[in-house]
Every structure is written in C-alpha cells, then in structure tokens.
Symmetry: C2
Subunit: 568 residues, 2 copies
C-alpha cells in the first residue's frame, strides 16, 4: 500500500485536510467572557428595556410565570459570574433545518459549563427529547466538531412539541436524565417552542418542586429571525449566503466568458428575501427579485415578467445576450394575484371534485377556467402548461397547493422567453436554471458564524448558570467587540391565526423597503442591469486577508462604517 | 452617503475584497524560468521521445511541414533563451467552455514576451480570429486579471475553423494584425484545430514568405485531455472539481444532519468520468457511478438501478435513510443497451415519420414500441413517461436525440424509487436532484491551477520566442518542481469517423479501469456505501495551511507519495 493511499484513508470520516485544519482555528470571545483560552461564565442584569407586541396582554395570561420572572426585560452581561455553579445537567438539541455554526454552539456550551457540570446531546432533534435519546458530550467530541459545518453531531428534525402527551414525554425525559436545563437551537418556530417549554417546565418538574430552565439560540439560514439591534442576524445566514454568493459570482463570471446564456437562480429562503438581497449585494447581478417589494407594490406576474424581459432586451441591444437573475424561493406566494388565483382554484376544485375528476386531462384546464373569475381564468391561461397541470394536480392533505413545489425559476424563464419574443423577436434568449439551497446549510461556518455561534453557546451556558429561563441568547454589537445579552422570549410573541386557531408565533422579519440594505440595492440595481458591474466574492476564506466580514445587509442595516466584524 | 456605501460601490466590477486580494498572491515559477519576480524565456531541445498513434502515417501525409519540423519529438526546456527576440506580435484566444486559470495563461504569456514583443487578445474566441477582432493587452490588464477566474477578459466561443473560407479569414487577420504567432487555449478539439492551423500557416503567410506559429495550451474542466506523464491533467479540472467537492461535501454533511434525504448529483463532464471520480475521492459518498466501468461491464440500466437500490435499502436497514449518489453527465451514452435502443429509435422515427406524427400523443409510445426489437421495446417501456416523451419528441437538426438533455439524475431517482419499493416497501426514499456544472468553470483558480496556468503561459511564450510551431505547452513533474515541455500536436492525432467522413482528433482520455485512482476508488467504495465515512474538503483556500494540493486522482495516477504540488 502506497504512502498516499494510507494518507487518503486517514482523511475519511471528517478528517479531510481542511477539516483537520479548521479545528485548530482559534476563536475570539467577547471581553465579558475573559480570555479566549479559558472563557468564564458571565452573570446578567436587567437593562431596563422592555419588549412588547400587540398581544403582550394575551401572552402574559398564557405565560404567567415566565413574564413574572422576566418582566419581558432584556438582560445584559454584568461581569463574570462569581458563583461557582456545579452539578447542573444541561441538554442541547438542534431543531429544524441545519445551519452552519450549530456545532460551535455546543462547543461554547461545553466550555462555559466546564468540568463541574454535564452537557448532554439530544439525538435527532425535538423527537429525541420526546424519546429521551440523550448522551453525554465529552471534551473529545468538542475538539472534533469545533468549526465544522452541519448538525450531524446530533442530527435534527422538525417535530413540534405541542400536545399534552408530548409535554408529558418531555417531563419524563427531564426526570429520567435529571436535567436542569434545555438549550433549543432553532429558528422562529423553535424559539416559540422554547418559550412554551420554558413556561411548561417553569416549576414542578423535579422532586423538590423546581423546574427546568429553557434557553433558545437563534438559528436560520433564511435570516428572518432578526430583532432590531438586539439580534441583527441569526446564525448560519452568513455562511449560506457566502456559499451561494460564490456560486452566483462564478456563474456571473461564466456569463461574460461564454457570452450566450442567462442563468435564473432560485435561492433558498421560504418567506423572506434576505438571502436573495444579500447575495445580490455580494455579487451585483443584472436582476434580483425581492418578494417583499412585489407584495408592497401589488405587482402582477405579467408586470414582473415584463420588467425581467425588458432588462433582457435592453442588455441584448447593448451586446450582452447574457446575465443572471436571482429569485427568492418564496416569490410566488408574495404575488398577490397568484395567491388570489390559487385560493379560488382551491375552492373550485373542492366544490367540483367529482365533476373535475371525471374530465379528460386535456379538458381539465377549460373546466376549471370556466368556473374561475375572469381575472383568475386569464391568469391561469397565461401560465405554461406544466404549471397549469401542477396547479390542477397537486394538493396536500389539507387540499391546499404546495406553492413551494412550483419551479419558479423555470416558470420565470418560460414566461420571460415569451415576453422577450413579443418585445423583440431578434433577441436571443438561452437560459439555464439553478436552485441553490441544500449546498449552503452545512458548509463549515465562516469565521463570523464560527465566532458568533461559539459566543452564543457561551452566552446560553452563562444564562443557565445564572439561573435564567425563557430567554434567547444573543450577542449585540457584532462590529464593536460583542456583548452577551438575553432576549425574553415571551416579549417576542404575537398571536397568529393558523389552521383555524390562535397560535403564538415570533413574527418573521421580512425585508423592509426602507432599510438601508434595500435602499442601497435599489440605488444601484439599474446600473447593475445596464452593464456588467458584477463582482466575484470568491469562496469563504479561513486564513488570510479576507476572512472577517459581516454580511453586507447586516453591516448596512446596523449602521456599521465597515464590513469587518469584531468579537473580542 | 455613508462610508460603507462608498466602500461597497468600490467593490463593483471585479473589485470584491477577495478579487483585490488574490491579485496580490505571488506565483511560483519552474526553476527553468529563473526568478519568479522576473521570469525569463527558456529555449527547447529534443528529448528523443517520439509520439505516435495508429494513424501516424496518414497524419504525416496531411501535416507534412509540421511533422518534418518536429519529427513528432517531445521538447524539453534547455536553459534560458539567450537570443533576445524582439518585435514579435502574438495573439492569444480562448476556445470552448471556460476553465479556471485561462487568465493566468495570458499573464504568463505577457510576462515572458516582455516589453519587446506585443501580446494581442482575440475577442470572443475563434470567431474573433475570423473577424479580426483583436486588441493589445497591456501590463495593467495583466495586473487586473491575474489569479481571477473565467474567460471574461477575452470571451470565448465554440467556432471550429474548418472551411477554406475560414482559413482564408485567419490569414487575413494574421496579415492585418501582422501576427507572428497564435496561442490557442482550448481542449482536445481546439488543440486539434491548433494542429491544423499550424500546418495551414506553416509558411507563406507574411510578405517574406514566412509563416505564423501556432501553440496550444491544454484546457478543460472535464480532465479528458491527458497524455500520460507528459500531461497529467488539463488546467481547470482542479478548480472545478474542488468547487463541486465542496458542494458535495456540504450536501453529505446535510444528509447526516437532516437524516431524511438522498441527493442525486449529476456532475459536468460529457464523455469521461474523471470529474465524478475525483469528487468521489475528495468526498467519499455512498454511491458513485463511473461511465467507463458501466461500458466495460456492458451493464444494463436495470442492473445499475438494482445496484443503486440495494445500497439505499441496505443503508436504510442500518438506520441511514439518506445518502449521496454521484453520476457523470455522460452516463446514459455509456450504457450499451441505451445506445442501442436510441439508435433503433432514431431509425424507426426516421422511417415512419409521417405515420408517427399522425398518432395521438397517448398512442405514440405503443406505435414506436411495436416497431422496436423486443429488448428495446421492453427497455423503452421500463422508463418513466417523461423520459419516453423526451425520447420520442426531441431531435436535433441531424435527426439525432440530444442525449445530454436527458435529466439523468431524475431518471435515476425515479427508477431507483420503483426498485427500492420492490426490494422493501418499508424503506423510505425521499430524494433531491442537483446538476453541478456552470458553477465550476469560472471560479478563481486554485493555487495549483493558478501556478500551473501561469507556467503554461510562460512555456507557450517561450516556445514562440524559440521559433516553434505545432506544439502544445505542458509542465511535467508537477510534484517535483515542474519542467516546461512541449508536445508535438501532430504526434497526438488519430483519425475518427464523424458525420460520415474522416476527421483528425486527439483521443479523449477516459477513466482507465486499471488506473491507481480507479483501483483505489474500487477498494474503498463498499466501505463508503456501508457507513458514513465521508469528508468535507471545504472551500478552496488561497491562504493558510490547506492550499497546495494536487487533484487526488492526478496524484494517485502519477505515483506521487503525497498530495502536495510543487512548482519552482
């Protein structure tokens, strides 16, 4: 066996040259935690800042213990924690889609809890908490997962803990594993769940009548978990958008090399367009569609297509038969007329189910079209046949269309082709479609996400050692050293009508039309459409001169005067 | 206007923080070129090694001047070139699909030609040579494009220079721009074209009866332009496979985080499976299909699907309802029975065109099926309906199916789903498909591709200053300092029957079953299928400890004892 083959086998199982090297990268910590080689827990004090929503009274009624304890007041670190808490048993779980940096949250927790307390990992997400599938996390585990991507150390799932039976199962797990605290790493829904759990486990779990603390950690690549200056971004967003931005930058470079293709790129992120906006700011492509703007302008599909086609035609007239369009995954759901049409379609199909099923496939569009309002019938007729088939065929178990299954990028290509032909039949239009999503969730975290999540872990662990429950850990001032803070989860909750009943939710942060990031984008996009001003941000770097950047939208929206992040 | 907005506008047009930084990276040069700060041209001498193919006699008849001059003997550098050649006018063009490092070939050429000679860029590929669209390349251009990805500095296209009229146009361009030499940066076809051009322009172009030199530079991300130890890899392959490997590594990490998806990934590379093999060696996924192995084993589609489905079922029985499959873009064309069926289908459709067109869409598959041989009819009937529709519908202008349009990754998913259900109906199988291609052609070159291409440019320029024509530049000994050498293009040519006539071609290098890289893959793949041994190679790095690697397959096949490349 050659030396090289032996070396290659040694790189198997997460031991690539890269993975071995990133494990050694030092991580900075906020000054509050002391030295980075031996970070110490901090204690917390009230800031005096009270959070409230339109539904605060209703929330107070549903979360009496949490609200009485926190008064919905934001906490900030108040120096190192002198009390040497020992013997706490803390469980950590990942909830929902993976995001880069989750492993470092675990590492931060382990470090700050120290040898005197026990950190347990919950296998495969909230479901593992119900089943009581936990194991003790060792120092060796932490050394192995530090700075690596993915949630694979624990696994994840999307189980929502809602029913009385589920709450009973969680209590059982708490008792069985003698838990003192649970850390939930997740997005808006998971942090809502953390708030509910915190209230449910507030007291009376253990034999002595005491409760189990619950702390949330803000994760989502979509970037739609933001709370003003208290939480300028969730973790994982930076890594995902940097990965997508490299790919889009490469594709842009390809368009002006090959000189003959348009590429329509759909970007992951169901509700908000933060990802699309950030990738646009990083790469400066010809066209970027922002769902929130389309909704705000009540723009029709025909108008969007016309807008796109006109850029294609104008670029062609300037000699550029190529370009890149970015579209957010959730686009279709933000087009008011599409929503209205789909809603009427759902009704028609529900009311005429038997008659509809009896029609020949060819006759179905006309059958439905004649039962829709004229506007909706005309919109349906304007769509490519495969979209019509999909609209008529696929329904989920509630009888609703799964809008996310619509291949938006292909729909835009086909409709744009048609419109380009109408505007100028001599304009060539050859297009490829892409969907960038899964590639971005589990890459090794950028140095920003790596440092941010490690400090979020230190903060979450500190909150537990300080006896807090019902808070979400955060680091504020990401460009000025970083301060560990805590957001009272009950102070974030709103009531929303879902599936016919009231539910508590943390409102998703959408792209705001008047935000500095959006305004900067709007000020530049015509120039980006008119000529090639794109840039390639390149692959994220872990060493060298280009490592320490914040997401551009975060830097703009938080009023930073440079792109550098600074923790510690 | 804020400081940050000003900074952001300054990053437009190829001025990202990353692009600005990579331009400053130093590049090593082979010892033969002297110091890296001021590389000097080398002269060349015969090595005594003669290249030949089965068609050497026919080639000699068609390329008399080239063969008489080179005797098909490989050249190697023989110290720095003492003759101070001045006043040469050299044109460089990109041909075919872009590949990372093309810009550095231009930079190497410019440096070695020095201030005493003139380098011109041909706009938009071979077509630009026909049209005479050239411009002078400046030092400032070179500083701007150094180490950046893409072919966008010049542009590219796929025009083949074949007709007498085209050769006349090239001569006209040579005269108009007073060219002494042309450098063609391209793949196997483009280098064949370079050989033809070299012979055509050998003499009698300029007023004094002298000719124009032509030098090729070996480019292609597919990696199928390889000539044993003389050319262990074309440029661009390393960057493309590293980009794909990062994406596949991220997706692998996602599968074991989310615990519920298979991802079927099709990888660019039409003929050969080098890309798929290299990405497999980098990432170690559960399943990788190698077209050449399937062809060698005369494996049927049903057998491939069965093989895939059994891995899915076995992994599920071990608790892993997830995994990654890699498939080369050209897979379908390497399945003997698919080729046979498509050939008969083309015949049937050609012979029964009018009758076929008269059938209702629903009736078409049966109409064709009844006219195929029983085996082919049965194979056609086994395919998903959208593939059947595609096979019956789409023909190019020659009446042939464009096999590349078949969505192989989706076909494999749908057929595997069916087979999994037959093997064990309790195995869940949820799959996503990906095609990785355009993302990999225009990223910033890895340090290997950056150094390799810069030295290829230095070599190509040296060959011109040394008065050579009809050679392809190469660097041998990539792990041991690097030696500039030159491969006589006529010595590589074979005759192949294409479109009913004999054409000269450089044979595509396919994956060899007995190569060390393939054998290593075969020795490990069962272990990779049975449990999660994957690794994430991470994004390519330009600074720090993980920058200097060769492609794994290249290192294995060239007998290297480590992954490091060493130039200079």
């Amino acid at each position: 066996m050659s030396t090289l083959v032996e070396q290659l086998i040694q790189t198997e199982a997460h031991q690539s040259i890269f993975e071995s090297a990133v494990r050694q990268l030092p991580l900075p910590v906020c000054a509050a935690f002391g030295s980075s080689s031996s970070p110490q827990p901090v204690s917390f004090k009230n800031t005096g800042r009270v959070l409230s929503t339109k539904d605060s009274d209703a929330v107070r009624a549903q979360f009496p213990q949490s609200v009485a304890a926190s008064n919905n007041i934001v906490l900030t670190s108040s120096g190192s924690n002198p009390a040497t808490v020992q013997g706490k048993r803390v469980a950590v779980l990942f909830s929902g889609g993976p995001a880069a940096g989750g492993h470092n949250v675990v590492c931060g927790l382990k470090r700050v809890l120290g040898a005197g307390n026990t950190l347990l990992g919950v296998r495969a997400g909230p479901k593992g908490l119900l089943k009581g599938s936990l194991f003790e996390i060792t120092e060796a585990n932490v050394d192995f997962i530090l700075n690596t991507g993915g949630f694979d150390f624990l696994g994840s799932d999307r189980t929502k803990i809602k029913s009385d039976e589920q709450f009973a199962q969680v209590r059982e797990t708490c008792i069985k594993h003698q838990l003192d605290a649970i850390v939930v790493v997740g997005g808006d829904d998971s942090n809502t769940n953390a708030a509910v759990l915190a209230e449910s486990l507030f007291t009376g779990v253990k034999a002595d009548g005491s409760g189990v603390q619950v702390i949330g950690v803000p994760k989502t690549i979509d970037g739609d978990l933001q709370i003003g200056d208290l939480l300028s971004i969730s973790f994982g967003f930076d890594t995902a958008t940097r990965i997508y931005s490299e790919m889009v930058g490469n594709i842009l470079q390809d368009t002006s090399s090959s000189l003959k293709y348009w590429h329509f790129v759909k970007l992951m992120g169901r509700s908000a367009s933060h990802v699309a906006l950030e990738v646009a700011l990083q790469t400066k492509p010809a066209i970027t569609l922002i769902s929130e703007e389309i909704a705000a302008n009540q723009e029709s599909l025909a108008s969007i297509i016309d807008r796109v086609a006109r850029v294609i035609v104008e670029r062609s007239h300037r000699g550029m038969n190529y370009g890149v369009l970015l579209a957010p995954e959730g686009l279709i759901e933000f087009i008011p007329e599409m929503n209205a049409m789909i809603a009427e379609l759902n009704d028609v199909l529900a009311h005429h189910a038997a008659d509809f099923a009896a029609q020949a496939d060819d006759a179905k569009p006309a059958f439905v079209g004649s039962r829709l309002s004229p506007e909706n019938a005309s919109l349906l007729a304007s769509l490519p046949h495969y979209i019509v088939n999909m609209l008529l065929a696929e329904r989920d178990s509630h009888g609703n269309l799964q809008v996310s299954l619509i291949p938006t990028e292909q729909l835009l290509i086909d409709m744009a082709r048609q419109r380009v032909r109408e505007l100028d039949a001599n304009v060539p239009f050859a297009a490829h479609s892409h969907f960038l999503g899964y590639e971005g969730r589990c890459g090794a975290p950028t140095l920003f996400d790596a440092a941010y999540t490690y400090n979020l872990g230190l903060t979450a662990g500190s909150l537990i050692l300080d006896g807090r429950t019902g808070y979400m850990a955060t680091i504020t001032g990401l460009a000025s050293g970083g301060t560990p803070q805590a957001i009272p989860l009950a102070g974030l909750l709103n009531i929303e009508r879902r599936h016919g009943k009231n539910e508590f939710v943390i409102e998703k942060a959408l792209v705001k039309m008047d935000s500095p990031a959006m305004q900067y984008f709007v000020s530049r996009r015509e120039a980006w459409a008119a000529s090639d001003l794109f840039a390639s941000p390149g692959p994220r770097q872990f060493w060298g001169p280009t490592t320490d950047q914040l997401p551009i939208s975060v830097a703009l929206n938080s009023g930073a005067d440079a792109l550098m992040f600074k923790i510690g």
